[in-house]
Symmetry: C2
Subunit: 345 residues, 2 copies
C-alpha cells in the first residue's frame, strides 16, 4: 500500500524511525493509529484481528505511511517486523481482548497475550532501543476498596476467578514491563486505561456503552446488570488517545503507572438516562444478575497524569455520546465508510 518514495521522504524526516501499534486494529488502537499518522509518524499496525474489526482500518489503509501486518503476538514476531527491529522508535502495546465475554472465551490465550506477547514486544523494544508503552487497565484494581483509585493502590483482585485471566494477565504484564525499565533494558511507560467509549467499539463486545447504545438504537430490550447502581467513569476515545501519546512522549524514568480516564463518575442507570434521551428509545429495561467479581465502583484519580502530562479529558459526555450514537446508528444501518474520528473531536 505504500510507494517507496513517499515512505523514504517521511521516514527520513523522522530519522527513519517507525512506530509499532500492536492491537492497532482494535477500538482504541485504530484511533491511535489515525492520530499518529496525523502527527506524521510512519505506523506499522500489528493485529491478529481476533476482536478487532477490519473496518476500523478502512480509512487508514490508503495512507502512504500506514502498514498493516496480521500476526498474533503470542507467537514469534513476523519477519516484516523482526527484520526491521532496529528501525522502530516507539512500540505501543494495545493488544488484548478487553471485554469480559471476549477475554474469557479463551482465557489461556488472554493470559499468554498479556505475558508472552508483552515479552515479545519488550524484546523488540530492547533490540530497537525503542520506547515501549503498555496499555494496562483499571482492572488491575479489581473491585476497588479505595475510591477514587490512585496508582499506589494495590487493588482488590481475585486471582482465582473468571476475570483473573485478564486482570492478573495485565498485572503480570505490568510487572514484566517495569522489570525491563528497572534493568535499563528499555524505556517504558505504563498507562492504566479506565472505561473508554466512542466510534469503533465492537457492537457485540458486551461493554456497557456499546450494549446500551446498540440496544436503544435497535429497539431491543435494554439489559442492565444488577440494579444499575454500580458506577463507571467514561472517557471519550479522542481524549484517551491524546493521553496515551502524551504519556509515550513524557519525561521521567517511567517507572510508575499512570491512570488515564475521565473522573466524571456516574451510575449505569444515569448513563442509561443519557442514552435514552439521545436515541429517543422507549425500550423496556431487563435486569440480569451482576457478573462474578464485577466492580461496583470505578473512578480514576488522574492527578498524576495532570501533573506529569498536563493532560485531562476535554470531551463532555453529551458530546462524546452523541458522536458514538451517530456512529453506531450508521454502523447498525449497514452503511458504508464512517468518518474515522467522529464529531466530538
Amino acid at each position: 500500500m505504500n510507494k517507496k518514495g513517499e515512505r523514504m521522504t517521511h521516514t527520513t524526516r523522522l530519522n527513519g524511525k517507525l512506530t509499532l501499534v500492536a492491537g492497532g486494529a482494535g477500538f482504541i488502537g485504530s484511533h491511535l493509529c489515525a492520530a499518529l499518522l496525523a502527527k506524521g509518524d510512519h505506523v506499522v499496525c500489528l493485529d491478529n484481528l481476533q476482536t478487532a474489526r477490519p473496518s476500523n482500518l478502512r480509512e487508514l489503509e490508503s495512507h502512504p505511511n500506514f502498514e498493516f501486518v496480521e500476526a498474533d503476538i503470542t507467537g514469534p514476531l513476523p519477519a516484516s517486523v523482526a527484520d526491521r527491529a532496529h528501525r522502530f522508535g516507539r512500540v505501543y502495546n494495545l493488544a488484548c481482548a478487553a471485554s469480559p465475554p471476549q477475554y474469557q472465551a479463551d482465557p489461556e490465550h488472554t493470559m499468554l497475550t498479556c505475558v508472552v506477547g508483552t515479552s515479545h514486544l519488550l524484546r523488540l523494544a530492547e533490540q530497537a532501543g525503542a520506547r515501549f508503552l503498555l496499555t494496562s487497565t483499571s482492572e488491575v484494581y479489581g473491585d476497588p476498596e479505595m475510591h477514587p483509585q490512585q496508582e499506589g493502590y494495590r487493588g482488590f483482585v481475585n486471582c482465582t476467578g473468571p476475570r483473573a485471566c485478564y486482570d492478573e494477565g495485565k498485572r503480570a504484564a505490568e510487572a514484566l514491563t517495569f522489570d525491563y525499565g528497572r534493568m535499563g533494558r528499555a524505556e517504558v511507560r505504563v498507562a492504566r486505561i479506565f472505561n473508554t467509549y466512542g466510534p469503533h467499539m465492537n457492537p457485540d463486545d458486551g461493554r456497557v456503552v456499546s450494549n446500551l447504545v446498540c440496544q436503544a438504537l435497535s429497539g431491543d430490550p435494554i439489559t442492565i446488570y444488577g440494579d444499575g447502581s454500580q458506577t463507571r467513569s467514561f472517557c471519550y476515545v479522542s481524549d484517551m488517545v491524546a493521553g496515551l501519546m502524551a504519556l509515550m512522549e513524557s519525561g521521567g524514568d517511567g517507572l510508575q503507572p499512570v491512570n488515564l480516564g475521565n473522573p466524571n463518575e456516574m451510575t449505569v442507570n444515569e448513563l442509561l438516562g443519557h442514552v435514552l434521551a439521545l436515541t429517543g428509545s422507549t425500550a423496556a429495561v431487563e435486569h440480569r444478575p451482576l457478573p462474578i467479581d464485577d466492580p461496583r465502583r470505578r473512578r480514576p484519580d488522574i492527578d498524576r497524569a495532570k501533573a506529569l502530562l498536563d493532560w485531562e479529558p476535554r470531551v463532555p459526555l453529551a458530546e462524546g455520546l452523541a458522536a458514538t450514537c451517530a456512529w453506531f446508528a450508521e454502523e447498525l444501518g449497514g452503511a458504508g465508510g464512517q468518518p474515522m474520528v467522529a464529531a466530538a473531536e
Copy 2:
C-alpha cells in the same frame, strides 16, 4: 539408570502411569520425589538445575523408578516427556526459583516460568488426562493486611515492584490453572505454600532459615533484616510434602486454593534465638534494611487444609531445626552423601 524389566513391573502395577515432578531437583521437589518413590510411584523429575542442587538427587538416582530429565519448562517439553504424554497420571509443578535474590536475578525468566511453564505442563496434563498440582505461594498475599491469611483474602501485592515477577507470576499461574479446571481441560489442585525449611535448602538462596543456620554454623556475623520483629511461620519439609501429596489425591472439584504451612508464627528474632541455642553460636548480629515490599507478618490459616485433607503439620520446630542444622553442618563441612530425609521424620 533404569533396567527396563524393573520399570515395566512397576508401572504395570500402577496401571502404567507416571508421575511428573517439575522442579523435582529443588529443595521441596527432591523430598517430594523421594516420598513418591517410597509410595511406589514411577517418578520423572524435570528440572533445569537453575537453582536446584544436583546433590539433592544423589540418593534417588539409583532408584529403579526414578528418571531425571534436564529441561526448562519455559521451552517446549522435551521429547522424553512429550512422547510419553499419555502415560502421565499426575503432574506436580514445583518449578520456579523461590527466593528473592534468585527469582530477581532474571525476572523475565521467573515470570515466563510461572506462566509459560505452567501452560506447558497444563497442556501435558490435558493431553494425558492427568491431574495437575500447582505449587503457588503465600506471596500471592503480598504484605498481608489480613492475619492470619485465609484463602479468600485477595492479597496486598505491589504489581510494579521488584518482587512482582514472582508474586504476580504465581497469581497468573493460579489464574491459568483454575481456568483449566473450570473449563474441564484438566483436574487441578493449587497449594499456597508458606515458609518451609529443612535439609536440601540452598545455603546461598537468601532465605531466613538457611541464612541464620549457615551464618551461625560458620561463625560469620548474623544478618537480620530490619529489627527482626517481622514474623514468619515455618513448616518442616516432610510436613509440606505430606500436605502436597494429600492435596493431589484429595476429592472435590479442586477449584479453590489450599494454604499449606505451619501456623506456628514467630518473629525472626525468636527464630534466631532457637538457632543460636542449637548451634551454640555467639556470633555478632548485623542489622540491614528490610528489602522492598518485604511482608511484615505471615501466618497461614490452615482450616481448609485440615477439613479437606485431614492434614496438619506434626514436626515441632525444635526437632525440625535440629535436623536442619545437622544437615547444614555436614553440608558446609564438605562431607559426602547425606541421608535423604533427616532425623525429624
